[in-house]
């Protein structure tokens, strides 16, 4: 069975500066893969490259189909949902409009039902449903961003540092949602995180990036239980 997402020998960069060097990683269907590493290791660049924002060499395959060179909207239409590290909120549009936009590519009739579902899950969004999304706090915008991505009914979810800058309670809520979505919908997830502990708890396998290269990879449980690796690479 082909992987949901597979990067093979991918190099990418901003202009003339290469940032990623021959990165290879994969996400299995229905699996969660974590990408860890310090600031500047290339984690966000990896996600941006998958989304088509940066030119890349090598191969990036979604369910076996190579997407290198495609524009980000075409990649999204293949069922790839992205929650960027800056949330990517449409700040001048309402909360409801943000959610509707998530469903832009869908033609089925269940969009309203999905919106209801997310509002039940995140009551704080429900109370602000018609407000401008830019007025939301960081945590609320993250909930909105995640809901918006899931409105796509994606095959794979790319998450860029979902816990960044959020209070622990909010982080817990978000990770709980991710866990549920993984179990109930069989969603594949690529999770880029600095919070290695939570990421390893949620994921099946993990890769560690350093200076744009994969320096370590393996089963998440193994990595979490190996003290030496935890201390030198994961910081805890």
């Amino acid at each position: 069975m082909t992987d949901m997402l597979r990067l093979t020998g991918v190099s990418a960069g901003y202009g003339k500066t290469p940032v990623l060097h021959e990165v290879s990683l994969s996400v299995q269907r229905g699996g969660v893969t974590a990408v860890l590493g310090a600031n500047g290791a290339g984690k966000t660049t990896t996600i941006r490259t998958i989304c088509g924002l940066l030119p890349a060499t090598g191969e990036i395959a979604i369910a076996g189909k190579n997407i290198v060179g495609q524009t980000s909207d075409r990649i999204a239409r293949l069922g790839v949902a992205h929650v960027p590290d800056n949330r990517g909120t449409f700040i001048d549009l309402t909360v409801r409009e943000n959610l509707l936009l998530g469903a832009h590519t869908r033609r089925d009739g269940e969009v309203e039902g999905d919106i209801e579902r997310f509002l039940e899950l995140f009551p704080r969004l429900k109370s602000r449903i018609h407000q401008q999304a830019g007025n939301l706090s960081g945590g609320e915008q993250q909930m909105l961003a995640l809901s918006r991505a899931l409105m796509l009914r994606p095959q794979i979810l790319l998450l860029d540092e979902p816990s960044f800058g959020l209070a622990p309670k909010v982080v817990a809520e978000i990770f709980e949602l991710l866990r549920k979505v993984k179990e109930e919908d069989g969603l594949s997830v690529l999770l880029v995180e600095q919070n290695a502990r939570m990421a390893l708890m949620l994921s099946d396998k993990a890769y560690v990036l350093e200076s744009g290269k994969v320096v370590l990879s393996g089963d998440s449980r193994d990595l979490a239980s190996d003290d030496a690796i935890r201390k030198s690479y994961l910081g805890y």
């Binding site: 700040i91 549009l93 936009l101 832009h104 007025n135």
Partner: protein
């Protein structure tokens, strides 16, 4: 009192014209977050196109439909061929491009129309006229209202309109939800050129069709749109009526007709200082 009312209504009549062009400006702003300085000249060119179709003997509403449709295509083509290659450069580059388009469109109108002033037909039946407003002036206001409602419905209540607004405000995030941003921009230009064509066909019977027809109207429309809040089609229409009324009243009662433009602008500036995002505009959220 009767005279005052006359003047107010005369202002309303002018305002109707400004409003029709203001809607085109609002549309392009909603679609691209920029102002198209060539809007007026493109509208004039469309109106010349309509005139030639009339000259060929076609009935009014057929010409109207063809002109609107043709202008949509023109706007879309201009976006693809001229505006898109400039790309993300800078807002100044964008302005320079629309100024260049203004000059080219104006030259094209001169070339097509010569120096002549032409009459342009009005489709509105005589019974629409009243003591205060002519049939055409009433008709213009009606048409503007119809365009306003159509535009509002499109932008606020359709998924396509939502996608278009999203694409203008946040192209990156729009790509992430699968919106073809480039296509949105092209269609946005098309729609605004189409609205401009309608404005041109409303203006021409009153102002007479000649290449510089839209020159000062663009300024009034711009003022009206900003006064109302550039992101707000309803506000733009109200703002345009307000501009029409101010301009007329100031010109008649206060400053005389040479300075009426200046005084209207002064008034608008004062209003903008008090409400910097326009009377009905939403202040942009500025969370860091």
């Amino acid at each position: 009192m009767g005279e005052f009312l006359n003047q107010v209504l005369a202002g309303v009549a002018n305002g109707g014209i400004y409003a029709s062009l203001a809607l085109a400006l609002v549309m392009i702003y909603q679609a691209t977050q920029h102002i198209n300085f060539a809007q007026g000249e493109m509208a004039t060119l469309s109106t010349f196109g309509a005139w030639f179709l009339f000259d060929a003997g076609m009935p009014y509403w057929v010409v109207f439909a063809l002109t609107v449709f043709g202008s949509f295509i023109m706007g879309a083509l201009v976006e693809r061929l001229v505006v898109k290659p400039v790309g993300t450069a800078s807002p100044f580059a964008f302005i320079a491009v629309t100024v260049g388009l203004l000059m080219i469109a104006n030259s094209a109108s001169h070339w097509v129309g010569g120096g002549d002033i032409r009459e342009f037909p009005s489709p509105f039946p005589g019974w629409l006229g009243s003591r205060y407003l002519s049939a055409h002036e009433t008709g213009t206001i009606l048409v503007t209202m119809i365009v306003l409602v159509a535009l509002l419905t499109f932008l606020k209540r359709t998924p396509f309109g939502l996608a278009m607004r999203a694409a203008a405000q946040n192209p990156v995030s729009s790509g992430f939800v699968g919106i073809r941003v480039g296509l949105m921009l092209t269609i946005g230009w098309g729609i605004s050129a189409a609205i401009g064509a309608i404005a041109g066909m409303m203006v021409a019977p009153i102002a007479f069709l000649e290449p510089n027809m839209m020159g000062s109207i663009l300024l009034y429309a711009f003022a009206g749109a900003l006064l109302g809040g550039i992101n707000n089609p309803t506000g733009a229409v109200i703002g345009s009526f307000a501009v029409g009324i101010f301009e007329n009243l100031l010109g008649v009662y206060v400053t005389g007709s040479e300075l009426k433009l200046t005084s209207a602008l002064c008034l608008i500036v004062i209003l903008l200082i008090l409400r910097p995002s326009g009377l009905f505009g939403k202040a942009a959220v500025s969370r860091v």
